[in-house]
Symmetry: C2
Subunit: 289 residues, 2 copies
């Protein structure tokens, strides 16, 4: 059985079959890109209708059930489920990964999955991936071609990761137009707490604040709409991230609460110079883009 | 002297000459729309190069100096400067507004300018306007046609405002494609503290937090970039808004700090049900758009 080939150009450096576990926004979009490049993609999703639709669309050439035995023939394996599910899925998949030359994931935190891979003896073939792509939508029906165009993908390896697996991980993301960059898993997670998880919490707190006063989203201007877009994000993905990365997230929250407290003080005191200083910092940071 | 007419269709219900004091993003864009509809627009800006460029572009047909005597011939007068400057400008303009059938402004707060108009005896011809348009850019060079297309404009009148002035204010905004809606000035300001001023402060606090950790904007994904766009906003405009609307803004800040504090507690306790509840509220609010 082979995948529908919408573009006959073959990707180099990726070996099929590629098994993608989870066909949501990220996994589904990855499946579309790889299938379009002539790779044989196998997949499954806990949502049966997603699996069926992906198969009917010709994106996945083989559906395998939760037993995961079919993984024994896969050369490239991608976990594309929420970070907590990825850990247990990796455990269930581990006995069937003998043929895999690369095992990777797409989660927003990288430290715990790397530890889990090490505990399962998978370090030689495991590379953690975090594509900076996606939005507040979720599921197979949100998946699409082009999602990874020019997107940065942080890649994390352990000292035990083989050069071969590393090369394959870079080739995988490059082939679909993304830009891989090596990161240490711990510093990745610490930075993401500030750059991604904190913005998510601020957006949620703002939405909660507006909801508590009965102010609907349609009353907002462009700025307020930008600020609340992430409040529509999927709790399934985010609850797992916040739990997994709790310590760095709390650091980010405390830092931001201190900044907000200072702004509150400046507004309360009508302290124009303190307000001006906050804008000076914000404007300067914005320009350094 | 007459304005350059890029579109010969005349706007109905607006009487020229229209004097626009302040040719920044909002005043400049308004000038462009009115001139394009055949109205004679007069203008000035504290930034001489903005005034000169607007004149050279054929958008304003007459430049008047800060003496404001030329206002004596204007039938429609628009204050398009930051809210603190609008108050003092209105005071300086008041002796010259005998011919004006409509005096309005475009500020983000409406209570204090309405009080000032009342104190100056201008209530019969004064209608406060707040167009929900604009972005983090500022100045004449950011001004453009189309800025007000479909934009809501909150209009506030006092009991002394004449039906004629009210009709003119509605006609002015409708003519350029905006959607005017009547609001009480006090409730407008209270709502804006939550819907606009709080998002601005959150964006600034987030930028300050990221700056404090040396995380540049380019490390952010789409969500984080959305959340920090307002950090590039002009302090000139915002310091005045925050000062003028300090009491409602502090209410909004306190409410949001309580929400963030609750989220911090949920993350610290690994309290998944509290996290889920916050997302349930945020998701529900997002859908009600």
């Amino acid at each position: 059985m082979s995948a529908t080939r919408t573009r006959p150009r073959r990707a180099t450096g990726i070996e099929g079959p590629v098994a993608i576990l989870g066909l949501g926004l990220i996994g589904g979009s990855l499946a579309r890109e790889l299938a379009a490049r002539g790779l044989e993609v196998w997949g499954f999703d806990a949502d049966e209708s997603a699996t069926r639709d992906a198969y009917r669309a010709g994106v996945i050439a083989r559906v395998f059930d939760g037993g995961l035995r079919a993984l024994e023939e896969a050369r490239t394996v991608v976990l594309a489920v929420p970070v907590d599910a990825a850990a247990s899925l990796l455990e269930r998949a581990a006995p069937h990964l003998n043929a895999a030359a690369l095992v990777t994931d797409v989660g927003s935190t990288k430290r715990s999955i790397q530890s889990r891979a090490a505990a399962l003896g998978l370090s030689p073939v495991f590379v953690g991936s975090h594509p900076m792509a996606g939005d507040h939508r979720a599921g197979w029906h949100a998946s699409r071609r082009g999602l990874f165009d020019g997107a940065r993908v942080d890649l994390c390896r352990s000292p035990e990761t083989t050069p071969d697996a590393w090369k394959r991980a870079r080739a995988l993301w490059r082939a679909i137009g993304a830009v891989p960059a090596e990161r240490d898993a711990t510093s990745h997670d610490a930075e993401m707490a500030f750059a991604s998880h904190l913005p998510q919490l601020l957006s949620l707190a703002l939405a909660g604040t507006l909801a508590s006063r009965g102010i609907p989203r349609k009353r907002l201007g462009g700025g307020g709409r930008d600020m609340t877009r992430m409040a529509a994000s999927s709790v399934t993905m985010w609850a797992a991230i916040l739990e997994d990365n709790a310590v760095p997230v709390l650091d980010a929250l405390e830092t931001c609460l201190a900044q907000l407290g200072a702004l509150r003080g400046a507004v309360a005191r009508r302290d124009r110079s303190a307000i001006e200083e906050a804008f000076r910092v914000g404007n300067g940071w914005s320009q350094d883009d």
